[in-house]
């Protein structure tokens, strides 16, 4: 990446310095302007922020965060497992299996999750399927995310040089063994970055829990803002919580990869 540009000489260093100062000033100015306007509208008044210094309020939001993480953990485990099988299905030599897996993946990744949630809520009970609240959120999210995971795993498998499975087969391993011991472990390692961003994305997707009134972070934010009439402040706080959580998830994954 650094090789996109040379080690800068004296003139380039000067130019970079000027650019840094100018762009720094512009961005700081914009930020300052926004904060000043915000203060002028009274949004930074101490009284509007004081409630967030209380532990019970945080406790309330953290229970919501726990719900977010619970739902996300369910979805992550289920979709990862389903994703592996769907990816294998799409790569299968059996035509029917390949078609079925491909069909499922293409449908699941091109229908909005919100619409799937509506179907779970309104259409499934009509045919006698009534799920507990958590699963009303987990099921549609799993349907969508398993397709996404499948595509990631498939990309990982395809990215391996064909010499790898060929070598394994020539050593006398069966196709299943080759997949299990040679291809998949390497493929997963290859696509870890994509897996982590999919994980972050599914944590964000759980915010749709507000539709089914599942106790997650955004739903609690909504109830809290009805109670304290501090809409903007509440959502700013919740945004920061999401940022910290998902940011640390990405950071830890980044560290693990090393």
């Amino acid at each position: 990446m650094t090789l996109l540009h040379d080690t800068p000489g004296p003139r380039a260093r000067r130019r970079i310095f000027v650019w840094s100062v100018v762009s720094g000033l512009v961005f700081a100015g914009l930020l300052g302007l926004a904060v000043a306007r915000f203060a002028a509208h009274g949004q930074l008044d101490a009284a509007r922020w004081a409630p967030f210094a209380q532990w019970p309020i945080w406790q309330y939001l953290l229970v919501g965060l726990l719900g977010t993480l619970e739902a996300a953990a369910h979805v992550a485990v289920l979709s990862a497992v389903a994703g592996v099988f769907l990816a294998l299905g799409r790569l299968s030599r059996v035509r029917v299996v390949r078609w079925l897996a491909t069909g499922y993946i293409e449908v699941a990744r091109t229908v909005p999750v919100l619409l799937m949630i509506y179907v779970t809520l309104f259409a499934l009970p009509g045919v006698g399927v009534n799920l507990p609240l958590l699963w009303k959120l987990v099921l549609p999210l799993t349907v969508a995310n398993s397709a996404a995971f499948a595509e990631i795993f498939r990309a990982g498998v395809l990215s391996l040089p064909s010499g790898q499975p060929e070598a394994a087969l020539s050593l006398g391993l069966t196709r299943a063994q080759t997949m299990r011991f040679v291809v998949l472990p390497q493929a997963v390692r290859h696509v870890t970055p994509s897996l982590v961003s999919q994980l972050v994305s599914l944590v964000k997707d759980t915010s749709l829990g507000y539709v089914v009134a599942f106790t997650e972070l955004l739903h609690r934010a909504q109830v809290l803002s009805a109670y304290n009439h501090l809409l903007v402040q509440t959502f700013l706080v919740v945004t920061v919580i999401y940022l910290v959580c998902n940011g640390s998830l990405s950071f830890v994954a980044h560290r693990l990869r090393r």
């Binding site: 540009h5 970079i16 961005f27 229908v111 909005p112 619409l115 309104f122 955004l218 998902n246 990405s250």
Partner: protein
Amino acid sequence: MAALLDNLAPLLHGLLTTLWMAALSAAGALVLGVVVTAMRVSPVPVLRGVAFGYVQLFLNVPLLALLVLFVFALPDAGVLMPLPATAVVVLVVYEAAYVAEAVRSGVNTVVLGQAEAARALGLTFRQALGSVILPQALRAVVQPLGNVMIALVMNTSLFAAVGIVELTAAANKTNLVHAQPIPIFVGAGLTYMGLALLIGLGTGWVERRVAILR
């Protein structure tokens, strides 16, 4: 089925809203995403830092929280835009982070010799980026960008939460009146799938035309 046909007008109107908002957001997100990528690989540390922070912010916060914040916090920061405009702006800045990630992975696929050759020819960083690196990077990521665009179309369904009647909201409203969930939601779902299919075919076509055979 009757519920679907009787309410074709509001549903079509919703579809139209989805279409124009998605198209506008897509154009904006592509441009902004490329600009952010350029900032991320630039030699200026401040620009790199800002671009990094930008991408991290929008990759990690749910679109729904951003929508509520932008719609209700921006007016207090002195910017009062009409609702549809606000929603499009949110989707542009949100999806631009995903575009930037995709394009950056494309930049990583451009072999270093290309950048070195560009420098050896005496091109400045901007020239090298604009005429050598980005064109190749973009050609390499047509498929991922297509996926970002499909996600963008699906994300327009969240606009319903801030009072915009697009396809999903129209379908939900119709269902509330007629309580015919299966035909209505299946119809809406098929429409989204059709849109995604169009985008998929489109990106496939573009990819075939611009792919670099190595």
